[in-house]
């Protein structure tokens, strides 16, 4: 690959690295304190998770789901109310996820089968579900205090004897195990494909990839080691991201989203039902919004009627910063994750610096615009129109 093509492909990764170094320097290294690194993903859990679903919606043709912030609030409100009434955590979670699934069925059906424009349908959902959430909350704030529920989302994995709050060796050990497993998997997978006579990346490229991933994993886990250990919430995030990355890149089902976004008519004539594709995009999006509601509710420890306001915009912004096309048909989960983390780093860096909210909005807007302008202009130059 030529240098220019390489730079173009990984622009946002470089942007992330530069921004990261920039804020590390500006905050005098406070950004890379163990506590901050650990919190970086936890604070942005809802963005990372919902951006996966939002990517599916955007892939189908630049469509977005505006209702996810409200769905998130409704899911959290339902869980909080159930717990408040003395329900078991399992039941509360079940009720929340059923509500999210019903919302998903409802919007997926309206958009896929009744052909309601997604923007309008989800705008209506945004009002509807927030209203219902406030009815459930009775316009009050409900605290979540059930320890079982909180543990499921906000605890840290600590092995007695090995770990203490100051130093969690287990985090580092898990990190090292994961990187060894990943190394073995990537190398053997390449060898297997090569043996079957398929074209594969060069050995050098594979090794460089492996090293970069290993270094990142170990660096991250050594940071976690310094602050309470592996957060359970990271496991939730990882599970969702890995599943969605797999779906979009490796499965026939995932291909359909790209195909519909690229050319719906051609996709239909190829024997694929676009209605189903739209349905699944919005259904999965709502499920993820419901899950995010549980995570955010547990993390904050209480739910009020304003929870999740404008969260949908964070998810949408992450997708576009991460290289998803505003016209649909292109974008990847890893790219979107880079976009989400980039936003997260900027937010955190500015918070540490003590910049007030208003400046954070300005910077967020500028970054989003810059990313999209860059995307459009650089693609235009290579003749993709």
């Amino acid at each position: 690959m030529k240098v220019s093509a390489f730079l173009k492909k990984y622009t946002m990764v470089f942007a992330l690295v530069i921004v990261f170094i920039f804020f590390t320097a500006l905050t005098g290294g406070r950004l890379i304190y163990s506590q901050n690194i650990s919190n970086l993903l936890l604070q942005n859990a809802y963005v990372l998770i919902m951006a996966c679903g939002m990517l599916l919606c955007i892939l189908t043709g630049g469509n977005v789901d505006l209702s996810v912030g409200s769905t998130l609030c409704l899911s959290a409100a339902a869980a909080a109310k159930m717990l408040d009434l003395g329900a078991a955590p399992g039941l509360a979670i079940l009720v929340s996820m059923v509500i999210a699934a019903v919302i998903g069925l409802w919007q997926g059906w309206l958009i896929g089968y009744i052909h309601i424009p997604p923007f309008i349908c989800t705008l209506a959902g945004m009002f509807l579900f927030r209203g219902i959430a406030r009815v459930i909350l009775d316009s009050k704030t409900i605290a979540i205090m059930n320890p079982g529920f909180l543990n499921l989302f906000t605890s840290y994995i600590q092995i007695p004897g090995v770990d203490s709050n100051k130093k969690c060796i287990s985090a580092l050990i898990v990190g090292i195990i994961i990187s060894i497993a990943l190394t073995i998997f990537m190398i053997t997978n390449r060898a297997k494909k090569a043996k079957e006579g398929y074209q594969v990346a060069t050995l050098r490229a594979t090794i460089i990839r492996v090293i970069v991933f290993d270094v990142l994993i170990i660096a991250y886990s050594s940071r976690l080691m310094g602050y309470k250990g592996i957060p359970v919430m990271v496991l939730w995030i990882l599970a969702v991201v890995v599943i969605f990355a797999f779906i979009t890149s490796q499965t026939v089902f995932g291909r359909y989203f790209y195909a519909v976004g690229g050319n719906e008519k051609a996709t239909k004539l190829s024997g694929i039902d676009p209605r189903k594709v739209y349905f699944w995009a919005y259904f999965l999006m709502s499920i993820l919004a419901g899950l995010s509601g549980l995570l955010v509710g547990a993390r904050i420890g209480s739910v009020d009627g304003n929870m999740g306001n404008s969260y949908e915009m964070d998810a949408i912004a992450s997708c576009f910063i991460g290289g998803a096309s505003a016209y649909g048909g292109s974008g990847t989960v890893p790219g979107v994750m880079v976009g989400a983390i980039l936003l997260g780093v900027i937010n955190m860096g500015m918070s540490i610096l003590g910049l007030p909210d208003q400046y954070q909005y300005i910077v967020k807007g500028a970054v989003l615009l810059a990313a999209v302008i860059f995307d459009v202009v650089s693609n235009h130059k290579t003749g993709k129109s």
Partner: protein
């Protein structure tokens, strides 16, 4: 000495990695019709973009001499001002606006105060339409008139700008024979009024019919300019210049091994329009196709051929469909496109860009789209290396010109896109392949290769249904030809009895 209206001298235009125009010289005499021919990618459109200023001065080298002076156009407005008008292949009209609004788009008729003078707009539009023989109200919306008439609107629009040199880029590619002929006669009429025309086309019979001179481009270079004073030039003479070799036969020969087995048939197939449900598009159509047979469907635009094919292909078109469909002698009730594919049907659309291909995706992904189960595990996990391997096989087999199978289809030329579309449906391994205008807008060399692919298909005992508006192609390729007109079957001919005249008279007789 001849009166030269336009001379393009030594034009060079480079794109990264490719010389689109390599020292091209091109001369047009005043008042002539000059045909510009060449294979796809020969540089015809690029040359016209230089002329019109779409490629601004500075991005090419060489001189454009118009009316004796060197011109340096920076945009289309500058060339329009001097009377150069280009009508592009893809019509640039806005469907939801009226003919008049479209005609004066960007060039609005205004009152002194600056507001649009609607009376003047509609009146002038009506006058311009009269010049091209378009009998419509200028208040009509573009979407309510057919492609042929839209083409006329474009030309009227060009004329309304007081045009001296008219450039037409493939004006007849989406027109049927009758409409094409009318359009060419109109251009001949302009010639009498002193307007010079440059016409780009792949249809060589049109070139022979109307052009005074023919310039052949190949690989970005001027090959020759052939005079055609008597309008009777031999088409093979032009082809020789275009491809650089003599195509001894434009249609590859095949052994006719038609079996008695009927592989596909339909009976009393009736289809209504999906929106205007009282409008009958296909009325009790019956036909059959045998193994090893190429069956042609001829007819004018709007004869209902595409509608017939699409409705048979898993009801992908129409409403209130009735009639029987048989595959291998058994009646089938295809619910949707996936069902049709599973039953061994394939339909390669006439409109590869909007209905056929995903332009933003790679050749590899387009090739496998209709049958991803072939390259995926039972659980639906795609084997990407296997997909690439398959795509590579088809690129090689079909001689698709591309640097890599990872190239986006949108970056390929029309002929190569068509090959990818065919590859996609070959990959689906159909028993019956329906090809709708398989060679529209592609060059002679690519056409020949596509004919060969069709021959390979039928020699394997499959069948091909070919819908085409080009009569010579149907005569050259088909074993049998059905003629349709206005949704009805108007005739059936076997290869040894059919002539162009017989087909046309079948249509015309039916019209009465």
């Amino acid at each position: 000495m001849a009166d030269i209206i336009l001379e393009m001298k030594d034009i060079v235009k480079e794109y990264p990695g490719v010389k689109a125009l390599n020292h091209v010289n091109f001369k047009v005499e005043r008042g002539e019709i000059h045909a510009l021919v060449g294979e796809n990618g020969a540089g015809k459109s690029t040359l016209m973009n230089v002329l019109a200023g779409t490629i601004p001065f500075g991005q090419y080298t060489g001189d454009v001499v118009y009316n004796g002076s060197v011109c340096r156009f920076h945009n289309i407005k500058e060339s329009e001002k001097l009377g150069i008008a280009v009508v592009h292949q893809e019509l640039a009209l806005i469907p939801e606006l009226t003919i008049a609004e479209n005609m004066f788009m960007g060039n609005e008729r205004r009152k002194k105060s600056g507001v649009i003078d609607w009376d003047k707009t509609f009146q002038e539009a009506q006058d311009a339409m009269k010049r091209v023989g378009l009998k419509e109200s200028s208040h009509t919306l573009i979407k309510d008139i057919g492609t042929g008439k839209q083409q006329l609107v474009e030309i009227a629009k060009a004329l309304s700008k007081d045009c001296k040199l008219l450039v037409l880029d493939e004006p007849t590619s989406s027109l049927n024979e009758e409409d094409s002929r009318m359009l060419l006669d109109m251009i001949l009429g302009f010639k009498k009024q002193g307007i010079s025309s440059i016409i780009i086309t792949h249809k060589l019979n049109e070139v022979a019919y109307c052009a005074d001179n023919i310039t052949v481009l190949r690989d970005g270079q001027t090959i020759e300019t052939i005079p055609n004073p008597d309008h009777n030039i031999d088409e093979d003479r032009i082809i020789k210049g275009m491809v650089g070799r003599e195509l001894t036969d434009r249609y590859p020969a095949r052994e006719h091994k038609i079996s008695k087995d009927v592989i596909f048939a339909c009976k009393d197939w009736t289809v209504y329009h999906p929106v205007y449900t009282e409008k009958c598009m296909d009325d009790h159509i019956s036909f059959e196709v045998h193994r090893g047979e190429v069956v042609g469907f001829s007819g004018l635009q709007g004869a209902g051929r595409t509608e017939l094919a699409m409705s048979l292909f898993g009801r992908s078109y129409g409403s209130h469909i009735s009639g029987q469909e048989f595959i291998n002698g058994k009646e089938v009730h295809l619910k949707n496109e996936a069902d049709a594919i599973a039953h061994g049907l394939a339909y390669a659309t006439e409109d590869r860009k909007t209905n056929g291909l995903i332009l933003s995706e790679t050749i590899a992904r387009n090739t496998t789209l209709a049958r991803m189960d072939k390259i995926a595990s039972k659980r639906g996990i795609v084997n990407v290396p296997e997909e690439n391997k398959q795509a590579e096989i088809y690129v090689k087999a079909m001689h698709t010109k591309t640097p890599s199978i990872q190239q986006n289809v949108g970056n390929l030329s029309g002929g190569n896109q068509q090959k990818v579309l065919l590859a996609k449906w070959m990959f689906a391994e159909p028993d019956v392949l329906i090809l709708d205008e398989p060679t529209r807008g592609i060059d002679v060399g690519a056409k020949y290769e596509i004919y060969q692919i069709i021959n390979d298909m039928v020699s394997q005992g499959k069948a091909v249904i070919m819908i085409s508006s080009e009569l010579p192609e149907l005569l050259g390729m088909c074993d049998r030809i059905y003629v349709m007109n206005e949704g009805k079957m108007a005739g059936e001919f076997s290869a040894d009895e059919v002539t162009q005249e017989k087909i046309m008279s079948a249509i015309l007789k039916d019209k009465k």
